[in-house]
Subunit: 282 residues, 4 copies
Amino acid sequence: MCRWIAYSGSPILLSRVLFQPKYSLIDQSLHSRLGVETTNGDGFGIGWYTQERSTPAVLREIDPAWNNRNLREVAHHVRSGLFFAHIRASTGTAVQQTNCHPFRYGRWMWMHNGAIAGFRELRRDLTLAVDPALYPDIEGSTDSELMFFLALTFGLPEDPPGAVARMAGLVERTGHAHDIAHPLQMTVAVTDGRSVWAFRYSTVAASRSLYYSTEVGDLRALHPDAALLRELSDDSRLIVSEPLGDLPGAWNEVPESSYSVVQPGGDAMRPFRPDLAHASRS
Amino acid sequence: MCRWIAYSGSPILLSRVLFQPKYSLIDQSLHSRLGVETTNGDGFGIGWYTQERSTPAVLREIDPAWNNRNLREVAHHVRSGLFFAHIRASTGTAVQQTNCHPFRYGRWMWMHNGAIAGFRELRRDLTLAVDPALYPDIEGSTDSELMFFLALTFGLPEDPPGAVARMAGLVERTGHAHDIAHPLQMTVAVTDGRSVWAFRYSTVAASRSLYYSTEVGDLRALHPDAALLRELSDDSRLIVSEPLGDLPGAWNEVPESSYSVVQPGGDAMRPFRPDLAHASRS
Amino acid sequence: MCRWIAYSGSPILLSRVLFQPKYSLIDQSLHSRLGVETTNGDGFGIGWYTQERSTPAVLREIDPAWNNRNLREVAHHVRSGLFFAHIRASTGTAVQQTNCHPFRYGRWMWMHNGAIAGFRELRRDLTLAVDPALYPDIEGSTDSELMFFLALTFGLPEDPPGAVARMAGLVERTGHAHDIAHPLQMTVAVTDGRSVWAFRYSTVAASRSLYYSTEVGDLRALHPDAALLRELSDDSRLIVSEPLGDLPGAWNEVPESSYSVVQPGGDAMRPFRPDLAHASRS
Amino acid sequence: MCRWIAYSGSPILLSRVLFQPKYSLIDQSLHSRLGVETTNGDGFGIGWYTQERSTPAVLREIDPAWNNRNLREVAHHVRSGLFFAHIRASTGTAVQQTNCHPFRYGRWMWMHNGAIAGFRELRRDLTLAVDPALYPDIEGSTDSELMFFLALTFGLPEDPPGAVARMAGLVERTGHAHDIAHPLQMTVAVTDGRSVWAFRYSTVAASRSLYYSTEVGDLRALHPDAALLRELSDDSRLIVSEPLGDLPGAWNEVPESSYSVVQPGGDAMRPFRPDLAHASRS
């Protein structure tokens, strides 16, 4: 499927996270250890927030990340305190920029690993549920972008966990109506430029891997010599599809059917379940 | 907008038509004389039929045609008796392979120059009118591909002129319902691998240019020394957005609100008008 | 051939120069008014310096600038006080990233508009004159990159105008040895991240156009309402292939056979002539 | 490194060899079993001869073969009796079309798996040995293309095995002069459109894998039900980096330090050793 990372914390060069770690995302593009596919070479994307404006910059390309020079250039020169990065393994839809993650709408960004089972059959019904005012902005053909637009339709800016739960509920109801046993498989990250929400869920309760980093203060006590840790503020946090290294104590699994929120004032981990009761607008 | 050519006749190398003429399609990609835009550099495509199979081969790329080496290679080595070629000037939708013409469905190919006015607003309503069984095969985001899928929904294989008329009627009705004065502007070519239909129509009755070549026998009498003409069978025909050269007597305008059909047994020119009475399925 | 701009001054968003002006570089990619070719669609590049490191970031792509989304994203989110931008019209060499400008070596950047006449014939002799220690870093096949490596060979870091003069001298001597009447046609910009040198020269003394902007203080007095001018420091300067707008008094031609230097402590304009006496190392 | 196949025999659709076998070249682009790298995603190329002209068509792209649609289209519609296909894993040089195999010069094609050790150091000396008349046609930056131009310089059209031996000898002498213990590692295929020569050699005598297919008549006797075999003429032959399937008896290793020639009138296998005595022209 795909691999992704979300970073929030002290402004750092993107390359510190994307290129330098032992099992960096760039390394995972060729040699993923936990992914369904070892190769994630069907395009990539990065999105980052700056002081310049509230909407993030998004750079997406359709070739593999491992030898892409523009990614290397930007990652070694751009510093950000909140960024997403994603490498894609297509499950059938076209390899094109508009199918690369992260997706953006206004100040919001979204990225996904997983799939909607039977998406070819479900795509039309799900698309009809998108707010007609949002519909014209759908540019690609992936399940991932459609999940984003459904979450936007269901109130993402007001209540991110609720909107994602309503999206997941619609996917499950629609899938079951088409006799699909396990419609949804997802890890999703979404941000408004201040907080990051990361969801781990699948109908079958065997979701793709998802990890979050240990609090920097605790890690620093464990590993006083680690250079990167001295550079990071206490509230810095990484959420990743798979650990970026072997540092003991650094990585913790997000539990099944949970979501994590990284936010000013204190992070949290909470249970997640699809909202099956919500009456979709369609 | 775009420029295109359709060829039907003696099997010839694609380069004879795509590269060698004075105002070849490749020349038009940089210096169109009759197009709305002089530059058509947002991707291109060619589609050709062979003896191998009933479905055509389609090669599409997102960079300009003028310096694309693969186009040059294929055009100089592939011979076909029926082929389409198209160069694109995007009117806003993404530059990606799935937005390049020609589009293919089974043995059918479709290409288009023009636009649906207010497409952002109309896109959802028009998409809903596509047969749900066809819907999953929509891959891009252009008005052109959607027009093709509407024509397929309305019976393209059984009655090409009727299906195109019903598609055009739906676009006009939908546009007018959204207070758009002149919803449709099109020249379209469509083929099943045996016949070619070419339509010229716009609501405002000022359609993009469209020309067809004079009968080869007549031309040969006028220009006994023209090498290409001696190579072509009597039933060979080109339909083009703009003439490929200055040969006197070679090019004839397709009249406003007309369609031309090139087919075994005799070509024809007939009036075209949108079918506004057809009750769409949506 | 090509079009380029060099900016030095107050840190600004790249988009202020690349996208917003009336005749912006992006507009010139489709509609150059002074270029040899109206279309410059064979790739583009931007290079910018940041506080992060002494070497600049360079982003280059092979498709046209006018619809490239990554260029738009970066330009609207990256702020820099010294940057180059270039749009390419190939004169025959391959459309590939390593043939796109600006070229970089360490902290130096180089971009070029023009051509070495008879480059196919001269290429080997000129390449042999490149310092063998630099030779392995030549990645592309253009005359422009080779001119950069010759200037590096001839002492660019120590004496930029002298090194460029020796490069130009070698090109002219080599060309004349091959009976080429007018071997060199160039406008070149080169920078080390602090100063910018811009050269206008051709053997035939009819060089490609080159302009520099009037001092910001003078312009501000002339146009007190111009928003961009209020944003710029007094030492801000643009050097461009063609003016970006019609603001009266804003643009001045760099004279034939001259170079301009934009530097801390005061800009200057000086005569330029190839150094024909320098004994090349080959 | 890379993987390649060469086919000579009955004209067949390219897809029969490129897509249909169990371990097809397309499968190897993601999951090579015998290659140094499991992923070969840094571009690909195919070259094929037709009745149209003596020079082959060459199609090369810089993205991975596994999801490239143009490759799929061409392979399913083009029939040829002699074709090459190559998937690339860059060892450091840029991912660009001019670095993709096969390379072409006139009617000749060349492709390579392996590397010249210390190529950055040796590149200049080796390039100087290329015939100055051929030099301008070098477009890329790979060792593979340079090996081709050296073989052309040393008489490829007159004596292919001798020219390749002289090229290999020059590489070894030049490498040894730079204190490189094992300068050359190669499997190379070269053709003039009639015969195919395939070389397996490395200084260290542990060359990359290379296999040739068993004679079709013998295979047909072993496997009377295999559909593809009934389609092939008796003189059809495949030479491949790794076997395309598990058919018992189908694949034979080309011995170390050998070359195979597939030609009208009878194939052959002969020893290969670099010609160290040849005085290069440089």
